[in-house]
Subunit: 332 residues, 3 copies
């Protein structure tokens, strides 16, 4: 009967080298700027391990007993599901709040800080989406448990940036010496801005901006790239860029940014479409990425091309989030 | 220590004969027409096994490590809870999306196919409710994981049909040689239409339609029954039908179908009520069923009659859904 | 291989003395009046045990295999999360319904009783929040499984009352011979009314009411206290009360109760603020409590004072709810 006491599944897990590790150097995941090249590389190694975890294997129980709260002040089903799936793939549990605005409703008026102090009493980690830039940083300043920023208004969405870079590495095999075409809405796309920022950490990266005039990449990013020695140029010729690049990163033109100028939107929207013709000029090893959702900026007939990487990219979000949850909760 | 490695609960489960089985012959559950008599019978056998699974028994962990996504484009708390309870009774986990419309919002405009390709990266099976007829079939055509249709608009709701037939077998002990009275809104009731369809698979079934004139059973079903050699008749005399039937299947008159003709609704609604008087003429072994929710088409004083089977019927939904989840995910 | 069959984690748990116990004397938790002094004391003992349960310990699996449904007819994210966290801390699972009103929508019109009979088929315990006073009692009269009232309209919120008393015991070390100042909206605050009620069960308790004239404590509670021999007085001097009390229990002035009389609200709201000056006159061992959310009736600079007990109080809600779930589902 002493044997019976010893041999339960939980103790078993603890004996695994990767279940209890060295503390992750970050307390929270707030913005893409936190990550240097080395940390990125290590996170990607963990994400690769996550890809290999099988159902019912001990690895699938690394976070058993841990509780993640998804504190979403605005709905984002896609992002929320990805995080919740990640937590559950590692044996962890989830508390879901899709209507977190209620906490701070006009009538009640609780501060974000007070909400965080309450939720941290119920959970081990908070994944937070907010409509205000900087909210995640404020939450992290208050919380005694890790905060992951799942998007704060026009601000940051660091796990999207990480999964984009991870996808490039998975698909192309390297992050140095690559050519990346960023296409579509470069003015408003949080995604492409963060990606440009992270790519600057690598050697000999060349970036092409291909976008309708009304939604061009802004100067702050261009200046940043220049200051970091990253070569970039603007082009109006998607075919030529596609033929040269390792990555064509297409994005959706965001209708909601055009207000009543539907004419401008329609013009911008139809301008650069990734279709079979574009695929024909792309190199064999090159891939198309997209943060999703897409409208028709990539035609559906491209989906069956093995170089269409966007659904694999979405799936990589799962592995990156598994890796971050693991690292923040139990360390390396 | 090799012993210690061996004796975890997970391996233990794998040693059970019913945990890993022969593949279920269906990849998805889309419409009642998929099921022939033999498959129905086998599913019902599994549902019976499900009834016997006890808390903390190995059977309660058959789906440990599996993740079900409930992708509901319109709310249906009752159906959603039944599926989520089924999954959790088998040790599985759930990702909930009650506001799946957001995925395909006007502003963003993602196709159902793209949404499915994203969600299938996060889960092992998708239970889907949609406002458009045929949506589940489209999802299944795209998905590489099983899809269960939890209702698609005016179309199908196959798990409801299955639990209805299962309930008849459980309550009456047979599906051949039975008399069934379908009462209430037969024009708009998805439930009674599917049930009539499935009953046609059995021998010597007689169906009575009892409904207000404005909501009579439509010709397509009548013709179908005739073509299959199923005897049916219409009757205006609920008492007489109730005295002859094994099953009185009552349904709610759906107010929302009457638009501004409240007068017609009120007339239809009061016409055929199952009350103590009806129970008096019913046979001892006969039962009353109802898909719920009910208004006053069955009076509350009937609830304590042992022949009131509608809450047992709701509970059977749990077992049928457990059986389907088990079959689709780990086979027979 | 017989060994392998024996040593699974589930059997292991069953061997623990506290996993299966004597039945709890209450079937449901409906109102604060149910609890006498002895039962309160025993529940608090269990809550203390709950505080000590560690991640991955056998205690964290006491409710494995149990399913709690949160049936919320009006949203209350704070309360819902607290219950769901409690259930998950004990290894139990949760079915969430935040939009339970849908069940009984005008169009469908299902009774609460029918809804309960359906949900009890899917779960082992129901935590229910409703907009109508008395709804929880009606649910309990119908249900064959335990019901916990998580607030029913202007009626009861018994788990809040329990956690308040538990917090006093944890912070002050006793419930007899204490002085409690109830401050703020005493007319509408369900919390302070229940607390006054429960405090009457203890010896030599003195209560001070400090509130703006428009929201004074009502006579029913004053009469009740008097009938139980509890000393109370009204005061307009927060400083003096604070200097004498063991507990200063501050509450939010509820704007929604003032309708269009914003002027009255603003006057009431600013009248009694717990700030650094109040803390200065409070005794060393005394504490400030608040049911949260707060607006500015306690200034933020008080938060760092060790006597600010309100976030510990929120956390105690977790332990009280863990204790009640444990007691109702598996007994003492």
């Amino acid at each position: 009967s002493r044997n019976a006491l010893k041999c339960n599944a939980l103790e078993f897990e603890n004996s695994l080298s990767f279940a209890v590790g060295k503390k992750f150097q970050l307390d929270d995941v707030i913005e893409a700027q936190q990550f240097d090249r080395e940390v990125l590389s290590s996170i990607f190694d963990v994400a690769r391990e996550m890809e290999k975890i099988e159902k019912k294997s001990p690895g699938s129980q690394i976070l058993k007993g841990y509780l993640m709260a998804t504190l979403f002040y605005e709905p984002s089903t896609r992002t929320r599901l990805s995080f919740e799936s990640a937590m559950k793939h590692l044996g962890g549990e989830v508390l879901t709040t899709e209507n977190a605005r209620e906490f701070s409703s006009a009538a009640k008026g609780e501060t974000l800080e007070d909400t965080i102090r309450t939720i941290e009493g119920y959970s081990d980690i908070i994944v937070m989406r907010h409509f205000e830039s900087g909210a995640a940083k404020r939450a992290a300043a208050t919380a005694s448990i890790p905060i992951i920023n799942a998007g704060d208004g026009p601000g940051q969405h660091p796990t999207q940036a990480l999964l984009d870079v991870y996808t490039i590495e998975r698909e192309i095999g390297k992050l140095d010496d690559i050519k990346v075409g960023l296409v579509g809405d470069l003015a408003n796309g949080r995604t492409v801005r963060s990606l440009a920022y992270l790519l600057a950490k690598y050697q000999n990266v060349k970036i092409y901006f291909v976008s309708p005039d009304v939604v061009k990449m802004k100067d702050d990013i261009k200046d940043y790239l220049t200051s970091k020695g990253v070569e970039w140029e603007e082009s109006a010729d998607l075919m030529e860029v596609a033929s040269k690049c390792d990555i064509v990163y297409q994005t959706r033109i965001q209708k909601e940014r055009f207000g009543e100028r539907i004419d401008l939107y329609e013009e911008a929207r139809g301008k650069y479409i990734v279709n079979k013709d574009v695929m024909k000029v792309m190199q064999k090893h090159a891939v198309v990425m997209h943060p999703l959702p897409r409208l028709d900026e990539i035609t559906v007939d491209v989906d069956t091309d093995p170089r269409a990487a966007y659904f694999r990219q979405a799936k990589n979000g799962l592995y990156i989030r598994m890796a971050l949850l693991k690292l923040l909760l139990v360390g390396w």
